[in-house]
Protein backbone atom coordinates (compact mmCIF):
# COMPACT_ATOMS: atom_id res chain seq x y z
CA UNK A 1 0.00 0.00 0.00
CA UNK A 2 2.81 2.33 1.03
CA UNK A 3 4.67 1.63 -2.20
CA UNK A 4 1.57 2.50 -4.20
CA UNK A 5 1.32 5.89 -2.48
CA UNK A 6 4.98 6.65 -3.21
CA UNK A 7 4.35 5.70 -6.86
CA UNK A 8 1.42 8.11 -7.04
CA UNK A 9 3.49 10.89 -5.53
CA UNK A 10 6.26 10.30 -8.01
CA UNK A 11 3.80 10.56 -10.90
CA UNK A 12 2.43 13.78 -9.41
CA UNK A 13 5.94 15.25 -9.25
CA UNK A 14 6.44 14.35 -12.91
CA UNK A 15 3.10 15.92 -13.85
CA UNK A 16 4.13 19.10 -12.04
CA UNK A 17 7.34 19.15 -14.09
CA UNK A 18 5.33 18.67 -17.32
CA UNK A 19 3.32 21.78 -16.45
CA UNK A 20 6.50 23.70 -15.72
CA UNK A 21 7.98 22.75 -19.08
CA UNK A 22 4.74 23.69 -20.87
CA UNK A 23 4.88 27.17 -19.32
CA UNK A 24 8.50 27.56 -20.41
CA UNK A 25 7.66 26.53 -23.99
CA UNK A 26 5.05 29.28 -24.12
CA UNK A 27 7.35 32.02 -22.86
CA UNK A 28 10.76 31.00 -24.19
CA UNK A 29 12.16 32.96 -27.13
CA UNK A 30 15.52 31.29 -27.66
CA UNK A 31 15.22 28.39 -30.12
CA UNK A 32 17.99 26.29 -28.55
CA UNK A 33 16.21 26.49 -25.20
CA UNK A 34 12.88 25.64 -26.85
CA UNK A 35 14.33 22.44 -28.32
CA UNK A 36 15.95 21.46 -25.03
CA UNK A 37 12.74 22.10 -23.10
CA UNK A 38 10.81 19.98 -25.61
CA UNK A 39 13.33 17.14 -25.21
CA UNK A 40 13.10 17.44 -21.41
CA UNK A 41 9.28 17.42 -21.55
CA UNK A 42 9.34 14.27 -23.66
CA UNK A 43 11.79 12.63 -21.25
CA UNK A 44 9.42 13.42 -18.38
CA UNK A 45 6.55 11.84 -20.34
CA UNK A 46 8.66 8.73 -20.87
CA UNK A 47 9.25 8.63 -17.11
CA UNK A 48 5.49 8.93 -16.52
CA UNK A 49 4.90 6.02 -18.89
CA UNK A 50 7.54 3.96 -17.03
CA UNK A 51 6.02 4.81 -13.64
CA UNK A 52 2.59 3.80 -14.93
CA UNK A 53 4.09 0.61 -16.32
CA UNK A 54 5.51 -0.37 -12.92
CA UNK A 55 2.05 0.26 -11.48
CA UNK A 56 -0.19 -1.30 -14.13
CA UNK A 57 2.17 -3.73 -15.83
CA UNK A 58 0.80 -3.03 -19.33
CA UNK A 59 3.52 -3.81 -21.88
CA UNK A 60 2.38 -1.11 -24.32
CA UNK A 61 3.28 1.53 -21.70
CA UNK A 62 6.85 0.23 -21.67
CA UNK A 63 7.03 0.31 -25.47
CA UNK A 64 5.60 3.82 -25.40
CA UNK A 65 8.35 4.92 -22.99
CA UNK A 66 11.08 3.41 -25.16
CA UNK A 67 9.58 4.88 -28.34
CA UNK A 68 9.26 8.31 -26.73
CA UNK A 69 12.87 8.33 -25.58
CA UNK A 70 14.17 7.16 -28.96
CA UNK A 71 12.09 9.50 -31.10
CA UNK A 72 11.30 12.60 -29.05
CA UNK A 73 14.27 12.80 -26.72
CA UNK A 74 16.97 11.79 -29.21
CA UNK A 75 16.03 11.83 -32.90
CA UNK A 76 13.64 14.80 -33.23
CA UNK A 77 15.72 17.22 -31.07
CA UNK A 78 18.80 16.11 -33.03
CA UNK A 79 17.13 17.01 -36.35
CA UNK A 80 15.87 20.28 -34.90
CA UNK A 81 19.36 21.25 -33.72
CA UNK A 82 20.73 20.50 -37.17
CA UNK A 83 18.04 22.74 -38.63
CA UNK A 84 19.18 25.48 -36.31
CA UNK A 85 22.67 25.29 -37.78
CA UNK A 86 21.20 26.08 -41.23
CA UNK A 87 18.91 28.85 -40.06
CA UNK A 88 20.13 32.42 -39.75
CA UNK A 89 17.93 33.10 -36.70
CA UNK A 90 18.45 31.91 -33.16
CA UNK A 91 15.49 33.59 -31.46
CA UNK A 92 11.77 33.83 -32.22
CA UNK A 93 10.62 37.34 -31.41
CA UNK A 94 7.47 37.66 -33.50
CA UNK A 95 3.98 36.88 -32.25
CA UNK A 96 0.48 36.77 -33.77
CA UNK A 97 -2.48 38.01 -31.67
CA UNK A 98 -0.93 37.02 -28.32
CA UNK A 99 2.34 38.01 -26.62
CA UNK A 100 3.90 35.54 -24.14
CA UNK A 101 2.17 37.38 -21.26
CA UNK A 102 -1.20 37.03 -22.96
CA UNK A 103 -0.47 33.39 -23.75
CA UNK A 104 0.48 32.55 -20.18
CA UNK A 105 -2.63 34.27 -18.78
CA UNK A 106 -4.81 32.51 -21.36
CA UNK A 107 -3.24 29.14 -20.55
CA UNK A 108 -4.00 29.67 -16.85
CA UNK A 109 -7.60 30.23 -17.95
CA UNK A 110 -7.50 27.14 -20.18
CA UNK A 111 -6.22 25.04 -17.30
CA UNK A 112 -9.14 26.23 -15.12
CA UNK A 113 -11.69 25.52 -17.86
CA UNK A 114 -10.33 22.01 -18.50
CA UNK A 115 -10.29 21.37 -14.75
CA UNK A 116 -13.91 22.51 -14.47
CA UNK A 117 -14.96 20.34 -17.40
CA UNK A 118 -13.29 17.24 -15.99
CA UNK A 119 -14.63 17.89 -12.47
CA UNK A 120 -18.10 17.67 -13.94
CA UNK A 121 -17.19 14.54 -15.87
CA UNK A 122 -15.23 12.72 -13.16
CA UNK A 123 -18.16 10.84 -11.53
CA UNK A 124 -19.08 9.40 -14.93
CA UNK A 125 -15.51 8.40 -15.77
CA UNK A 126 -15.10 6.24 -12.65
CA UNK A 127 -11.31 6.48 -12.46
CA UNK A 128 -9.06 7.61 -9.61
CA UNK A 129 -8.21 11.27 -9.00
CA UNK A 130 -4.66 10.75 -10.20
CA UNK A 131 -5.94 9.65 -13.59
CA UNK A 132 -8.27 12.65 -13.81
CA UNK A 133 -5.30 14.88 -12.93
CA UNK A 134 -3.21 13.31 -15.69
CA UNK A 135 -6.04 13.75 -18.17
CA UNK A 136 -6.57 17.41 -17.21
CA UNK A 137 -2.86 18.14 -17.63
CA UNK A 138 -2.77 16.20 -20.92
CA UNK A 139 -5.68 18.15 -22.43
CA UNK A 140 -4.27 21.45 -21.09
CA UNK A 141 -0.88 20.64 -22.60
CA UNK A 142 -2.51 19.92 -25.97
CA UNK A 143 -4.40 23.23 -25.81
CA UNK A 144 -1.25 25.10 -24.80
CA UNK A 145 0.55 23.56 -27.78
CA UNK A 146 -2.32 24.73 -29.97
CA UNK A 147 -1.89 28.21 -28.54
CA UNK A 148 1.81 28.15 -29.40
CA UNK A 149 0.89 27.23 -33.00
CA UNK A 150 -1.55 30.12 -33.08
CA UNK A 151 0.53 32.79 -31.39
CA UNK A 152 3.97 32.23 -32.90
CA UNK A 153 4.78 33.46 -36.39
CA UNK A 154 7.89 31.46 -37.19
CA UNK A 155 7.39 28.04 -38.77
CA UNK A 156 10.00 26.43 -36.55
CA UNK A 157 8.24 27.41 -33.30
CA UNK A 158 4.91 26.35 -34.79
CA UNK A 159 6.48 22.90 -35.19
CA UNK A 160 7.45 22.94 -31.51
CA UNK A 161 3.83 23.85 -30.70
CA UNK A 162 2.62 20.91 -32.74
CA UNK A 163 5.09 18.54 -31.08
CA UNK A 164 4.12 19.73 -27.62
CA UNK A 165 0.43 19.33 -28.54
CA UNK A 166 1.17 15.72 -29.47
CA UNK A 167 2.84 15.28 -26.09
CA UNK A 168 -0.43 16.40 -24.51
CA UNK A 169 -2.37 13.80 -26.52
CA UNK A 170 0.12 11.15 -25.44
CA UNK A 171 -0.28 12.12 -21.78
CA UNK A 172 -4.06 12.05 -22.08
CA UNK A 173 -3.96 8.65 -23.77
CA UNK A 174 -1.73 7.27 -21.02
CA UNK A 175 -4.18 8.24 -18.30
CA UNK A 176 -7.65 7.95 -19.80
CA UNK A 177 -8.10 6.91 -23.41
CA UNK A 178 -5.66 3.98 -23.68
CA UNK A 179 -4.78 4.66 -27.28
CA UNK A 180 -3.66 1.49 -29.10
CA UNK A 181 0.09 1.26 -29.38
CA UNK A 182 -0.04 1.08 -33.17
CA UNK A 183 -1.67 4.54 -33.30
CA UNK A 184 1.15 5.91 -31.17
CA UNK A 185 3.70 4.42 -33.58
CA UNK A 186 1.86 6.01 -36.52
CA UNK A 187 1.84 9.38 -34.80
CA UNK A 188 5.58 9.14 -34.16
CA UNK A 189 6.14 8.32 -37.82
CA UNK A 190 4.05 11.39 -38.68
CA UNK A 191 6.17 13.53 -36.38
CA UNK A 192 9.36 12.25 -37.93
CA UNK A 193 7.99 13.02 -41.39
CA UNK A 194 7.21 16.56 -40.29
CA UNK A 195 10.71 17.04 -39.00
CA UNK A 196 12.27 15.55 -42.14
CA UNK A 197 10.06 17.75 -44.34
CA UNK A 198 10.98 20.79 -42.31
CA UNK A 199 14.64 19.89 -42.73
CA UNK A 200 14.13 19.65 -46.51
CA UNK A 201 12.31 22.98 -46.58
CA UNK A 202 14.87 24.55 -44.26
CA UNK A 203 15.64 27.29 -46.79
CA UNK A 204 12.55 29.12 -45.57
CA UNK A 205 12.15 27.80 -42.07
CA UNK A 206 13.27 31.06 -40.48
CA UNK A 207 10.42 32.97 -42.10
CA UNK A 208 6.76 33.40 -41.23
CA UNK A 209 4.16 31.43 -43.22
CA UNK A 210 3.41 34.40 -45.52
CA UNK A 211 7.06 35.05 -46.27
CA UNK A 212 7.59 31.33 -46.74
CA UNK A 213 5.02 31.31 -49.58
CA UNK A 214 6.87 34.14 -51.28
CA UNK A 215 10.18 32.35 -50.99
CA UNK A 216 8.58 29.15 -52.30
CA UNK A 217 7.22 31.07 -55.30
CA UNK A 218 10.58 32.64 -55.93
CA UNK A 219 12.06 29.18 -55.94
CA UNK A 220 9.44 28.06 -58.49
CA UNK A 221 10.22 31.02 -60.76
CA UNK A 222 13.90 30.24 -60.52
CA UNK A 223 13.21 26.75 -61.71
CA UNK A 224 11.12 28.02 -64.64
CA UNK A 225 13.94 30.31 -65.67
Amino acid sequence: MNELIIGDDFIKILLVLVLGSAALIITQRSLVSLFSIYAAQSAILAAVALALFTREGTASLLFMAVLTVASKVIIIPFFLRRLLAVMPIKRDLEFHYLTPIGSIILSTGLFFVVYQAFSALSPALEVSRLFILGAVIGVSLALMGMMVIMSRRKVITKIIGYLSMENGVLLFSMFIAEMPFIIEVLIIVDLLMIIVLSAVLAFGIDSSVEAFHKRLNQLGLDFED
Binding site: K12, P100, F111, R129
Partner: protein, 312 residues
Amino acid sequence: MAEYLLYAVLNIGFITAISPLMLGAVKKVKALSQGRIGPPLLQGYYNLAKLLKKEIIYSPNTSFIMRLAPYINIGFLLAAAAMVPVVFLPSAEGAPGNVILFLYLLVSAKFFMALAGLDAGSTFGGMGSSREMSLSAIIEPVTITSAAALAFVLKTTDISEMFAAVLGASLAQYPTLILIGMSLFIVLIVETARIPVDNPETHLELTMVHEAMLLEQTGPKLALMELSYGVKQTVLMAILINIIFPWGLAAEATLPAIAVSMLSFGLKALALAAVIGVFESLMAKIRLFRLPSFFMLALFFSFVTIVFELLA
Protein backbone atom coordinates in the same frame (compact mmCIF):
# COMPACT_ATOMS: atom_id res chain seq x y z
CA MET B 1 9.04 32.75 26.63
CA ALA B 2 12.74 32.13 27.35
CA GLU B 3 12.84 29.76 24.39
CA TYR B 4 11.29 32.36 22.14
CA LEU B 5 13.72 35.03 23.32
CA LEU B 6 16.63 32.69 22.58
CA TYR B 7 15.11 31.92 19.19
CA ALA B 8 14.65 35.59 18.28
CA VAL B 9 18.17 36.60 19.31
CA LEU B 10 19.85 33.63 17.63
CA ASN B 11 17.75 33.75 14.47
CA ILE B 12 18.13 37.48 13.86
CA GLY B 13 21.80 37.41 14.84
CA PHE B 14 22.61 34.47 12.57
CA ILE B 15 20.74 35.87 9.55
CA THR B 16 22.39 39.28 9.99
CA ALA B 17 25.81 37.70 10.41
CA ILE B 18 25.73 35.56 7.27
CA SER B 19 23.99 38.09 4.99
CA PRO B 20 27.21 39.81 3.79
CA LEU B 21 28.71 36.36 3.13
CA MET B 22 25.76 35.45 0.91
CA LEU B 23 26.12 38.70 -1.05
CA GLY B 24 29.81 37.93 -1.48
CA ALA B 25 29.07 34.35 -2.54
CA VAL B 26 26.71 35.44 -5.32
CA LYS B 27 29.28 37.97 -6.59
CA LYS B 28 32.08 35.41 -6.43
CA VAL B 29 30.13 32.71 -8.33
CA LYS B 30 29.05 35.27 -10.89
CA ALA B 31 32.62 36.38 -11.41
CA LEU B 32 33.94 32.81 -11.65
CA SER B 33 31.28 31.81 -14.17
CA GLN B 34 32.28 34.80 -16.29
CA GLY B 35 35.96 33.88 -16.17
CA ARG B 36 36.97 36.55 -13.64
CA ILE B 37 38.48 36.04 -10.19
CA GLY B 38 36.06 38.42 -8.51
CA PRO B 39 36.19 40.02 -5.06
CA PRO B 40 37.08 37.95 -1.97
CA LEU B 41 34.24 36.01 -0.40
CA LEU B 42 34.33 38.25 2.68
CA GLN B 43 34.26 41.50 0.71
CA GLY B 44 30.77 42.25 2.02
CA TYR B 45 32.13 42.45 5.59
CA TYR B 46 35.08 44.63 4.52
CA ASN B 47 32.70 47.02 2.75
CA LEU B 48 30.48 47.31 5.80
CA ALA B 49 33.51 47.90 8.07
CA LYS B 50 34.79 50.59 5.71
CA LEU B 51 31.43 52.32 5.46
CA LEU B 52 30.90 52.26 9.23
CA LYS B 53 34.10 54.26 9.71
CA LYS B 54 33.12 56.99 7.25
CA GLU B 55 31.54 60.35 7.88
CA ILE B 56 27.84 60.97 7.14
CA ILE B 57 27.09 63.79 4.73
CA TYR B 58 23.57 64.85 3.76
CA SER B 59 22.38 67.11 1.01
CA PRO B 60 20.91 70.34 2.49
CA ASN B 61 17.61 69.53 0.76
CA THR B 62 16.97 66.35 2.73
CA SER B 63 14.45 65.99 5.54
CA PHE B 64 14.24 63.68 8.57
CA ILE B 65 13.01 60.86 6.28
CA MET B 66 16.48 60.51 4.83
CA ARG B 67 18.00 60.21 8.31
CA LEU B 68 15.40 57.81 9.64
CA ALA B 69 14.93 55.57 6.58
CA PRO B 70 18.00 53.34 7.10
CA TYR B 71 16.97 52.56 10.70
CA ILE B 72 13.34 51.95 9.74
CA ASN B 73 14.43 49.81 6.82
CA ILE B 74 16.74 47.56 8.80
CA GLY B 75 14.18 47.44 11.63
CA PHE B 76 11.42 46.10 9.38
CA LEU B 77 13.77 43.57 7.80
CA LEU B 78 15.08 42.32 11.15
CA ALA B 79 11.47 41.91 12.28
CA ALA B 80 10.85 39.90 9.10
CA ALA B 81 14.01 37.88 9.85
CA ALA B 82 12.54 36.94 13.23
CA MET B 83 9.64 35.27 11.41
CA VAL B 84 11.67 32.90 9.26
CA PRO B 85 13.20 30.14 11.41
CA VAL B 86 16.70 29.09 10.38
CA VAL B 87 18.32 28.11 13.71
CA PHE B 88 15.47 26.02 15.12
CA LEU B 89 11.69 25.82 14.94
CA PRO B 90 10.16 27.68 17.89
CA SER B 91 7.19 26.11 19.65
CA ALA B 92 3.87 27.02 18.09
CA GLU B 93 2.39 29.19 20.86
CA GLY B 94 5.24 31.69 21.23
CA ALA B 95 6.24 32.35 17.65
CA PRO B 96 4.79 35.05 15.45
CA GLY B 97 5.30 34.14 11.82
CA ASN B 98 2.28 35.05 9.77
CA VAL B 99 3.18 35.10 6.08
CA ILE B 100 0.87 38.07 5.38
CA LEU B 101 2.52 40.16 8.08
CA PHE B 102 5.89 39.06 6.72
CA LEU B 103 5.02 40.36 3.24
CA TYR B 104 3.77 43.64 4.70
CA LEU B 105 7.04 44.10 6.58
CA LEU B 106 9.00 43.64 3.36
CA VAL B 107 6.75 46.10 1.51
CA SER B 108 7.00 48.65 4.33
CA ALA B 109 10.79 48.50 4.22
CA LYS B 110 10.64 49.03 0.47
CA PHE B 111 8.24 51.96 0.90
CA PHE B 112 10.62 53.81 3.23
CA MET B 113 13.55 53.12 0.94
CA ALA B 114 11.62 54.63 -1.97
CA LEU B 115 10.67 57.64 0.20
CA ALA B 116 14.34 58.18 1.07
CA GLY B 117 15.18 57.95 -2.63
CA LEU B 118 12.70 60.75 -3.35
CA ASP B 119 13.69 62.83 -0.32
CA ALA B 120 16.92 64.37 -1.59
CA GLY B 121 15.16 65.62 -4.71
CA SER B 122 17.91 64.34 -7.00
CA THR B 123 16.93 63.08 -10.43
CA PHE B 124 18.44 59.65 -9.96
CA GLY B 125 16.80 59.01 -6.60
CA GLY B 126 13.38 59.95 -7.90
CA MET B 127 13.86 57.87 -11.00
CA GLY B 128 14.92 54.83 -8.96
CA SER B 129 11.99 55.21 -6.57
CA SER B 130 9.52 55.55 -9.41
CA ARG B 131 10.91 52.48 -11.14
CA GLU B 132 10.97 50.46 -7.93
CA MET B 133 7.35 51.31 -7.17
CA SER B 134 6.24 50.52 -10.74
CA LEU B 135 7.91 47.12 -10.51
CA SER B 136 6.39 46.59 -7.08
CA ALA B 137 2.93 47.25 -8.40
CA ILE B 138 3.40 44.41 -10.89
CA ILE B 139 5.26 41.92 -8.72
CA GLU B 140 3.13 42.36 -5.58
CA PRO B 141 0.11 40.36 -6.87
CA VAL B 142 2.54 37.63 -7.94
CA THR B 143 4.22 37.55 -4.50
CA ILE B 144 0.86 37.43 -2.75
CA THR B 145 -0.44 34.67 -5.04
CA SER B 146 2.72 32.63 -4.39
CA ALA B 147 2.27 33.09 -0.64
CA ALA B 148 -1.42 32.19 -0.99
CA ALA B 149 -0.53 29.04 -2.94
CA LEU B 150 2.00 28.13 -0.26
CA ALA B 151 -0.56 28.68 2.48
CA PHE B 152 -3.13 26.68 0.50
CA VAL B 153 -0.83 23.70 0.00
CA LEU B 154 0.50 23.60 3.56
CA LYS B 155 -2.86 24.56 5.15
CA THR B 156 -1.40 27.32 7.34
CA THR B 157 -0.36 30.96 7.08
CA ASP B 158 2.22 30.65 9.85
CA ILE B 159 5.76 30.40 8.43
CA SER B 160 7.18 28.22 11.23
CA GLU B 161 4.19 25.87 10.93
CA MET B 162 4.82 25.68 7.18
CA PHE B 163 8.43 24.69 7.86
CA ALA B 164 7.29 22.17 10.47
CA ALA B 165 4.87 20.64 7.95
CA VAL B 166 7.50 20.14 5.26
CA LEU B 167 10.11 19.03 7.79
CA GLY B 168 7.89 16.13 8.83
CA ALA B 169 7.06 15.16 5.25
CA SER B 170 8.92 14.52 2.04
CA LEU B 171 8.76 16.53 -1.15
CA ALA B 172 6.86 13.59 -2.67
CA GLN B 173 3.90 14.36 -0.42
CA TYR B 174 3.75 17.95 -1.66
CA PRO B 175 4.70 17.75 -5.37
CA THR B 176 3.33 21.24 -6.03
CA LEU B 177 6.08 22.69 -3.85
CA ILE B 178 8.30 22.35 -6.94
CA LEU B 179 6.05 24.83 -8.77
CA ILE B 180 5.92 27.11 -5.72
CA GLY B 181 9.72 26.84 -5.51
CA MET B 182 9.97 28.19 -9.07
CA SER B 183 7.60 31.05 -8.19
CA LEU B 184 9.57 31.84 -5.04
CA PHE B 185 12.82 31.84 -7.00
CA ILE B 186 11.40 34.42 -9.41
CA VAL B 187 10.14 36.48 -6.46
CA LEU B 188 13.61 36.24 -4.89
CA ILE B 189 15.27 37.48 -8.08
CA VAL B 190 12.85 40.39 -8.42
CA GLU B 191 12.81 41.41 -4.76
CA THR B 192 16.60 41.41 -4.47
CA ALA B 193 16.98 43.48 -7.64
CA ARG B 194 19.00 40.95 -9.60
CA ILE B 195 19.51 40.42 -13.33
CA PRO B 196 17.29 40.11 -15.44
CA VAL B 197 15.15 42.60 -13.51
CA ASP B 198 17.79 45.00 -12.21
CA ASN B 199 21.56 45.03 -12.02
CA PRO B 200 22.80 45.56 -8.46
CA GLU B 201 26.32 46.38 -9.62
CA THR B 202 25.60 49.07 -12.13
CA HIS B 203 25.46 52.82 -11.71
CA LEU B 204 24.09 53.55 -15.14
CA GLU B 205 21.13 55.80 -15.59
CA LEU B 206 19.42 53.40 -17.97
CA THR B 207 19.50 50.26 -15.82
CA MET B 208 19.65 51.48 -12.23
CA VAL B 209 16.67 50.76 -9.98
CA HIS B 210 17.66 49.70 -6.47
CA GLU B 211 21.05 51.43 -6.45
CA ALA B 212 19.53 54.74 -7.56
CA MET B 213 17.55 54.98 -4.33
CA LEU B 214 20.71 54.60 -2.23
CA LEU B 215 22.85 57.14 -4.06
CA GLU B 216 22.29 59.90 -1.49
CA GLN B 217 23.06 57.70 1.50
CA THR B 218 26.57 57.84 2.94
CA GLY B 219 28.79 56.21 5.56
CA PRO B 220 27.16 54.13 8.32
CA LYS B 221 23.68 54.87 6.92
CA LEU B 222 24.68 53.36 3.60
CA ALA B 223 26.15 50.41 5.53
CA LEU B 224 22.74 49.90 7.18
CA MET B 225 21.03 50.02 3.78
CA GLU B 226 23.50 47.51 2.33
CA LEU B 227 23.06 45.25 5.36
CA SER B 228 19.27 45.42 5.09
CA TYR B 229 19.53 44.45 1.41
CA GLY B 230 21.64 41.45 2.46
CA VAL B 231 19.19 40.51 5.23
CA LYS B 232 16.30 40.69 2.76
CA GLN B 233 18.11 38.40 0.37
CA THR B 234 18.99 35.88 3.10
CA VAL B 235 15.44 35.88 4.50
CA LEU B 236 13.90 35.23 1.09
CA MET B 237 16.52 32.56 0.41
CA ALA B 238 15.67 30.99 3.78
CA ILE B 239 11.99 30.68 2.84
CA LEU B 240 12.82 29.03 -0.47
CA ILE B 241 15.44 26.71 1.06
CA ASN B 242 13.43 25.62 4.07
CA ILE B 243 10.30 24.96 2.02
CA ILE B 244 12.01 22.86 -0.65
CA PHE B 245 14.99 21.39 1.27
CA PRO B 246 14.14 21.50 4.98
CA TRP B 247 16.75 18.89 5.96
CA GLY B 248 18.89 19.82 8.92
CA LEU B 249 16.49 22.38 10.41
CA ALA B 250 16.33 21.72 14.16
CA ALA B 251 12.92 20.91 15.60
CA GLU B 252 14.05 21.66 19.19
CA ALA B 253 16.38 24.09 20.91
CA THR B 254 19.37 21.96 21.88
CA LEU B 255 22.93 23.09 21.28
CA PRO B 256 24.02 20.32 18.85
CA ALA B 257 20.76 20.61 16.91
CA ILE B 258 21.19 24.39 16.58
CA ALA B 259 24.80 23.95 15.44
CA VAL B 260 23.73 21.39 12.79
CA SER B 261 20.89 23.68 11.75
CA MET B 262 23.19 26.69 11.31
CA LEU B 263 25.78 24.67 9.43
CA SER B 264 23.26 23.02 7.12
CA PHE B 265 21.52 26.32 6.43
CA GLY B 266 24.88 27.93 5.67
CA LEU B 267 25.74 25.20 3.17
CA LYS B 268 22.31 25.18 1.54
CA ALA B 269 22.33 28.97 1.30
CA LEU B 270 25.78 28.91 -0.31
CA ALA B 271 24.48 26.38 -2.84
CA LEU B 272 21.47 28.60 -3.60
CA ALA B 273 23.77 31.63 -3.86
CA ALA B 274 25.78 29.68 -6.43
CA VAL B 275 22.57 28.92 -8.37
CA ILE B 276 21.62 32.62 -8.28
CA GLY B 277 25.12 33.58 -9.46
CA VAL B 278 25.03 31.15 -12.38
CA PHE B 279 21.44 32.14 -13.26
CA GLU B 280 22.48 35.80 -13.31
CA SER B 281 25.43 35.08 -15.56
CA LEU B 282 23.26 33.16 -18.02
CA MET B 283 20.63 35.88 -18.32
CA ALA B 284 20.72 39.27 -19.95
CA LYS B 285 18.93 42.24 -18.45
CA ILE B 286 15.34 42.26 -19.76
CA ARG B 287 13.77 45.46 -21.05
CA LEU B 288 11.58 47.10 -18.42
CA PHE B 289 8.42 46.66 -20.48
CA ARG B 290 9.09 42.98 -21.07
CA LEU B 291 9.43 42.20 -17.35
CA PRO B 292 5.76 41.28 -16.82
CA SER B 293 6.26 38.12 -18.90
CA PHE B 294 8.90 37.03 -16.39
CA PHE B 295 6.55 37.71 -13.47
CA MET B 296 3.63 36.05 -15.21
CA LEU B 297 5.51 32.78 -15.18
CA ALA B 298 5.52 32.92 -11.38
CA LEU B 299 1.83 33.82 -11.36
CA PHE B 300 1.05 30.89 -13.67
CA PHE B 301 2.92 28.45 -11.42
CA SER B 302 1.07 29.73 -8.35
CA PHE B 303 -2.35 29.49 -10.01
CA VAL B 304 -1.62 26.04 -11.36
CA THR B 305 -0.48 24.95 -7.88
CA ILE B 306 -3.87 25.84 -6.47
CA VAL B 307 -5.77 23.95 -9.20
CA PHE B 308 -3.40 21.00 -8.88
CA GLU B 309 -4.05 20.88 -5.13
CA LEU B 310 -7.80 21.00 -5.72
CA LEU B 311 -7.51 18.02 -8.06
CA ALA B 312 -4.90 15.84 -6.37
